[in-house]
Amino acid sequence: MGYMDKSLTYIHEAILKGEVTPLELVKEALLLAKEDTNNAFEYICEKEALDAVIKLDASKKNNLLYGIPVVIKDNFSTKDIPTTGSSNILNGYVPVFSSEVVTRLEKEGAIIIAKSTMDELAMGGSGTTGHLGVTYNPWDKDKKHQVGGSSCGSAAAVSAGIVPFALGSDTGDSVRKPASFAALVGLKPTWGRISRFGLFPFATSLDHVAYFTRNVYDSAYILNILAGRDDKDASSSFNKVEDYTANLSNSIKGKKIAVIKGIIDSISDKEVVKSFNVSLSYLKAQGAEVDVVDIDVKLLKAIYPTYIIISCAEATSNNANLDGIKFGNRIEGESFEEVMVKTRTNGFSPLIKRRFVIGSFSLLKENQDELFVRAQKCRRLIVNAFNRVFEKYDAIYCPAAPSIAPLVKGSSNNLSDEYLIADNYMAFANMGGYPSITLPLGFENNMPFGGNLTAKPFQESLLLNIAQAIENGTGLKDLVAKRN
């Protein structure tokens, strides 16, 4: 019998009952990882995982993560384990320290079995741009559909039943969008709730640690472990950490949910809207008050360009240290400048270079006020608009994406309302630092799609409580794609 397609709670109880040992779990996960056909992994940590499981402290076996195999996105530093950010410029790089979240997981007894593929340096949303190529959606045996990105490998690993939990990062929607495409629960907590120490920075004002599970309870439990102040991250919050599992089964009677009209109106897929409306009926049946609320469509359409300018501009400075001198895949030259130029020219893919040029262009002296600073001003107006909604409502709820996962070779009209709004609106939660969770809503042509729920900063308990109510209504949890 296999365990990796089960929930954390189920696997934990099996360990406590003596039905399975951590070593057996790790061997099962490693075998599944090696059989993976979706290009989910940068590096499978076979030796490291087998060494770690033997050293487990049995006195900690009551911890939910004790002996549980997990996967880590390849932009989290992992001591003595290669970490590339799926970029050739970091080929061969082996961190000398671990990120705070990895340290916390290991202290709880989790065993890292692999580092997962991603869009290069997390700067993409398709799961197709990492240096190892396309990561496929486990729900599509024909391998035509994306799984989404940038946390593509982590999403593929959890939805394929290789591990029950994987770490990702979310700067625009990089966990919450793939969660929608892979029938997973993807949580991005409040900005500052989880330490980012050791996470490769992409856009510091928008970056969040986030993660995938297959049900809301597991998501809440993981937050109990990862949340909390860390002196090594100046942006990490001193706010009190709650028991995020405690209020999951509370009544949601009287909770006020806002559905944003402009987002729903921009979706053309009737099946997505229909399933979303059915989920609203579950919320209403449990006593929640649901209203359709207006936000200026011009503001909604400005979310994506605002995100692109700010993230690309911040990325140029955050990645300035990738020069091959102190670490990374150095290419020799006649001068130190030539070393840097050759290393960066050869190490970054064309897509990343284009993103950097967009950032650099918006930061040119002549353009800065009209592009970068204006984007920062627009961010303020966008966040103000959503804050006004939160003055009257406990949460905002909408489809996480306008459709099932796009085709790998598909194309989209990048100026359409559907692309600008429904496909990219979730970045508002990064701009405002709001906690935000995606969870499964339904299937179309056997491919999943999800809904997204967002709450006020540090209201994770309430967010998870409402998410649990939706999950109870849909019954869509612990979903695993059939292995090909």
Binding site: G192, S205, I308, E334, R344, V357, R374, K377, L415, L420
Partner: protein
């Protein structure tokens, strides 16, 4: 805003210490048509230029001094482990004065 042409894009790339092929520059020039149209959506927002730029999601005020506790620093060889060319505990670069 500066006119978008190949020369400007080369300048933008070179400021970031990398270069691109002619094909990559041409692809990016074509992409900029869409990018500029998207950026113009921001300019269409009423009152945008009067808003205060937002640099972080929300204000965080940390008024504390950390305890002055000495901790062991990382070993030098360990810190240099990922540098490709190390001599006598220092990273070697091409000669500056030829």
């Amino acid at each position: 805003m500066k006119e978008v042409n190949k020369e400007v894009l080369v300048t933008s790339a070179n400021k970031l210490m990398f270069d691109m092929s002619d094909e990559e520059y041409n692809n990016l020039l074509a992409e900029f048509d869409v990018i500029i149209s998207q950026m113009n959506l921001i300019g269409d927002i009423e009152g945008v230029d009067e808003a205060i730029p937002m640099t972080f999601p929300f204000d965080v005020t940390n008024t504390y001094l950390r305890e002055d506790v000495a901790t062991p620093p990382m070993d030098r060889n360990e810190a240099l482990r990922n540098a490709k060319d190390v001599v006598d505990g220092q990273i070697r670069l091409p000669r500056v004065v030829k």
